[in-house]
Amino acid sequence: MTGYIIKRLIAMVVTLWFIITLTFFLMHSIPGSPFNEERNTSEAVQRNLESFYHLDKPLYVQYGMYLKSVVTFDFGPSIKKSSQTVNEMLGRGFPVSFELGIITLTVAVISGIALGIIAALRHNGFIDYLAMTIAVLGISVPNFVLATLLIQQLAVNLAILPVATWSSPKHMILPTLALATGPMAIIARLTRSSMLEVLTQDYIKTAKAKGLSPVKIVFKHALRNALLPVVTVLGSLAASILTGTFVIEKIFAIPGMGKYFVESINTRDYPVIMGTTVFYSSILIIMLFLVDIAYGVLDPRIKLHKKEAS
């Protein structure tokens, strides 16, 4: 177990280093300097600006400085909004995005699992078809379309919920709904199929033969095993929720990290793009790592150190 964790830890660090390096060289392979597009700056000002952002140094020096800044978690100032640093932006945006992400993940996991269980228990019944229709629709409709439809119907036409922003629990309903539907659909389908598989197992028959109550069979015997596949997709679901926040935050004008990221893309604010990308990637890679470990802890049948061979 420890051996496996150490191995995964090393792989995680290498992946992180890879994305940092990739981001750095991609951003520096763009021709031209970020300053010469807008105003006509004099030669001296140009040079001052470049030395302020260390753009006058050779590439390997810049790379070294960048690695250092990532390790010390200091991404420097923004180019377009010179009064702000990337850290300040992350500090302001992250709590909001984190809140949105966690609420969404919770809603998606709980409702997805519930939907999946109900569908499996009523296999081929009306509820099953209904649940799976919802699930397929959830996978098929892009979240920005869903978000717009929700705003138009619930916020504008019926006026029962606020249109945008993130200030009270009431404001959180629509963004969460728009963002959670896709992941919920995936979890529901997965739970349903693995539940159906588990329900045919011998130990469930034994449990039934013992005369256990259906509730006990489902929650104590079936669910624990049925949920293992769900755990494996949590990492990639977190990734899709995270990238989904870019879109949702833009549509609902939520002042989160995604908003800064999208803004920085549109204004080509390279330090902000690099900072947010590295930050996002770190979160995701750590998530994937935790999910892998959790999987091993939940399912004692998996011998982690032998996982490579299987």
Partner: protein, 318 residues
């Protein structure tokens, strides 16, 4: 089971004289009639797929969409980029079937033009993933040992990369456009395919028929082509039917961020993201048609992929 049955039969009738047994008259027609034509794996899978109504509906929609993507812009009486300032933002009517946009362009023609781009992006991305993934995964799985270890280390590192973030980064660097999108989607897209192919090959290469082939001295390239690849095709096809919609989705996502197809060209994604801003002024058709067809395509590919999975792997059928 079989063995025991034979054994039982022998014990059941120990004393029956041989002349009790009369050979049955041979009736060739009858013999012929009982024999069920032997079906290849693919014919069998196709029969199973035909029975799956949802998957067939998906297949039908996809064929219809492809047909309209090819012929739609020709059917429309208006051209794709023809602007008409007197006909701005018209709702769907007999003249403009899907309405017009803010420049007076025909949404019907643009929808099918967008279908070309969106389907093209999805299919080309899936084909590139297929090519790289099969070669990479095939070599890793077949060689095994140290080669496999080294190659899978690389995959492990790339697998951790957040897909859409990398796509966004590359699009920012290369500048938006059709080629950029396909390139960006392929950079990390092949990894899933490589993992699947490698896993399959690793398993199949130890089956008896492959070992027999090796014993006869078949060349490696022929073993890979004739023995390994055909038997990994099932999961590969399923993976491809899931790659296409995810590429279309990613393209729509990029368009929404302003990194997708640039005007005057249109894809479903860029049309939908243009339509988003106008929905509050009541121009629902601008968003509805592209969004509807994105959803229909996603739906079709998803149910077809599910159906194929069931059809190609009957053991997993539930």
């Amino acid at each position: 089971m079989e063995l025991r049955k034979q054994h039982d039969n022998r014990n059941l009738a120990p004393d029956i004289p041989d002349d009790w047994f009369v050979p049955k008259a041979k009736d060739e027609n009858e013999a012929e009639a009982v024999v069920r034509p032997s079906l290849s794996y693919w014919q069998d899978a196709w029969r199973r797929l035909l029975k799956n109504k949802l998957a067939m509906a998906g297949l039908f929609f996809l064929i219809a969409l492809a047909f309209m993507a090819i012929f739609g812009p020709m059917i429309s009486p208006h051209s794709v980029s023809q602007q008409s300032l007197t006909n701005q933002n018209l709702p769907p009517s007999s003249k403009y079937w899907f309405g017009t946009d803010e420049l007076g362009r025909d949404v019907f023609a643009r929808t099918w033009y967008g279908a070309r781009i969106s389907l093209f992006v999805g299919i080309v991305a899936a084909m590139i993933d297929f090519a790289i993934g099969v070669i990479y995964g095939g070599i890793a799985g077949y060689k095994g040992g140290r080669t496999d270890n080294a190659m899978m280390r690389v995959v492990e590192i790339l697998y951790g990369l957040p897909y859409l973030l990398v796509v966004i980064l590359i699009s920012v660097v290369m500048g938006p456009g059709l080629f950029t999108i396909i390139f960006a989607l392929s950079v990390t897209g092949w990894i899933g395919m490589a993992r699947i192919v490698r896993g399959q090959v690793l398993q199949i290469k130890n089956y008896e028929f492959v070992l027999a082939s090796k014993t006869f001295g078949t060349k490696t390239s022929r073993i890979i082509r004739k023995n390994l690849l055909p038997n990994t095709m099932g999961p590969i096809i399923v993976q491809m039917t899931l790659t296409v919609p995810s590429a279309i989705f990613a393209e729509a996502f990029l368009s929404f961020l302003g990194l997708g197809i640039q005007p005057p060209f249109a894809s479903w994604g860029s049309m939908a993201s243009d339509g988003l801003s106008t929905i509050l002024s009541g121009h629902w058709w601008r968003l509805f048609f592209p969004a509807f067809f994105i959803s229909l395509t996603m739906f079709s590919f998803n149910v077809l992929g599910d159906g194929l999975q069931d059809a190609l792997d009957p053991k997993l059928r539930r």
